[in-house]
Point group: C2
Amino acid sequence: MKSAPLPAPLPDWTDLLRRTPTLVDAWLRGLPDRWLDVDEGPGTWSVRNVVGHLIEGERSDWLPRVRHLLRHGEAVAFPPFDRVAQERRGPRSIEELLDEFATMRAESLRELHAIGLTPTDLARTGRHPEFGVVTLRQHLATWVAHDQTHAMQIARIFGRSLAADVGPWRAYLRAARPPE
Amino acid sequence: MKSAPLPAPLPDWTDLLRRTPTLVDAWLRGLPDRWLDVDEGPGTWSVRNVVGHLIEGERSDWLPRVRHLLRHGEAVAFPPFDRVAQERRGPRSIEELLDEFATMRAESLRELHAIGLTPTDLARTGRHPEFGVVTLRQHLATWVAHDQTHAMQIARIFGRSLAADVGPWRAYLRAARPPE
């Protein structure tokens, strides 16, 4: 396997992070509600919920935890991230959600750049409420991988909604298969 | 589960199809080679290969099989789709690949619109070399779901390349997990 480990300096880490709002926008803006509201069954998310969750990540997870770790090290655990915070907010249009995500991601990346993390900073450690000691580098890599996980989810939500329509091709279409 | 079955008339089917070149472009154009060349291990694809495969689908699968089915019905099986045709072509830049995919997809959708499929047409049947009798409706739904499957693949390729970097968060990140 060719590997693509995250290098220092920092700007290279943001190749994917800065693209996520644009690609999600290209995927979802202007879609009819039947695509925006479809989900994978009871208790699962629609793509609208996914964008809401990405916004919550910017608000209370990614940069807030960078600041927290740099300030407190291992002495104070991160506040737990509320993974369903967005579900308590009222319904919002996809346009509003996409605009907010783009604005917040741009602001996060501006602040990250302004902090000017060094390789030494990346090795600094903090305390995760569940996992224990983690490095800043792991936290930042998780930000990148988390975007990709939710891009997978968007594709899977759409694909599964077509599972009954594709007939025998289902065997070849990972996105159209039921949950494992 | 809220369902989003593909409706007639046809224009609604293309909501997602016409977005795919734009979202893949937003995701990949201008990325450094270390992202474009990373794969999931021996015998697996990079995102560059995925775009090449999407181009081959336009060239020899989606509209060609629509034409074939309308002409031959069940009498003549579809020619088999060569799923690795793109691997025999020489290396090409991501920009060239993205441009070609966008051009070909736009042309496919123009032709699909020009054919003006009716609900009766959608129920027409053809013969798949492996699956036997399939409907035109299933073929078109497969086109939509196939895009989503390869969007999942792009996200997974990137996510897995970070598996070693995310540390304990791996448990939460589907995209960063090893193949099942």
